[in-house]
Symmetry: C2
Subunit: 211 residues, 2 copies
């Protein structure tokens, strides 16, 4: 699978601009490749179950465990939004404390099956935290990153003016065969009219750049 040094450039159309530079790809001797591979294998990251980026400075996942901590550390988190009722495990508590991460726990029962049990007030409070940029980068998680996390992200997408079809598509991608109609109905009926400070769709990092 190594790339010969004299390999011809493959078909690539770079439209509206200058040709591609080749600065990224370097000639690699077998010795260097081996060393690099060994070094990389030593520090492989293990993102938590169902991990994904939601938006700038907002991540989601299932319950993180010890093997995930080096990866989470690399994200430079400031906050964790934790959506379960159970106390945060000792190892996780140690991780966030030793990395200066603030924990926001909104205790929601995970066994909910019917719409009436979804705690709207808790989602509203969790959104408060989520919308405050001072808390980012932040990580949202529950147990499996499907239902509670999916509902919170769904409410956030409403604030971003996503259409419901796209919100449900995203919800279902993470919930997979565990997708629940009541969760999606909750997102549909969740009233965002009283929530101010709508998040900008323009990424903050690129706001200051001149195009």
């Amino acid at each position: 699978m190594s790339i010969p040094h004299n390999r011809k450039r493959p078909m690539c159309h770079a439209l509206n601009g200058t040709p591609l530079s080749s600065s990224v790809v370097d000639d690699a001797s077998p010795e260097n490749s081996h060393t690099a591979a060994v070094n990389r294998a030593d520090q492989l990251f293990v993102p938590p179950l169902n991990f994904s980026m939601v938006d700038y400075g907002i991540y989601r996942c299932g319950f993180p465990d010890i093997p995930n901590f080096p990866f989470l550390k690399s994200l430079g988190l400031r906050s964790v939004i934790y959506l379960c009722t159970e106390p945060y495990p000792e190892a996780n508590m140690h991780f966030i404390n030793s990395n200066g991460i603030r924990l926001f726990q909104f205790g929601m029962e995970g066994s909910k099956e019917s719409f009436v049990n979804i705690p709207e007030g808790l989602f509203r409070s969790a959104l408060q935290v989520l919308l405050d940029e001072r808390h980012r980068p932040l990580l949202i998680h529950c147990k499996r990153g499907k239902h509670r996390t999916g509902c919170l992200v769904g409410c956030f997408r409403k604030l971003q003016n996503w259409c419901l079809a796209s919100i449900f598509d995203e919800y279902q991608r993470f919930a997979a065969d565990k997708a629940r109609v009541p969760d999606q109905r909750f997102i549909e009926l969740f009233d965002i009219s009283s929530i101010k400070n709508l998040p900008s769709s323009t990424p903050p990092y690129f706001k200051s750049r001149n195009r």
Copy 2:
């Protein structure tokens, strides 16, 4: 689903810090709520099929169509990495030209079923574009955002030192019942040892912030 003004604050533990502020949630009269809802309905965004954020300034999706353009415009894209052989449709070409977006087309056949047909050189060139921060924010897409896009994102995750289990988990989340073992084998065997400028795991936006 409206929230009474005197609703009690739900259970929320804000650990390691000050109490939550309530600045985000405002009292909403029925009239104001209705107006806000109408305004929002007028500008609902329609993200493309299989849309997601990959990393800071990197997005992925299936083929965008006209209803998706207002949403894509909101992302402030600088570049599109397009992984199909077919010419870019006129409407899409008009969209990117009128928004100053640069198109990088790497023509890969979508009907590949076997490993030997996966064009490694094209993926390597596409990675060059992807790794150059000057091209971001950028959008990667093919037809359905499953296989070609999934392979490119998988190679990018290798550069981020993700373990293969997590890379495949992400690939499968987007490919769903269309997941292909040859695609995942390609990602596994893809040699990253010759690629420099490894992307930092620290988000660029937050680098300049003091914690």
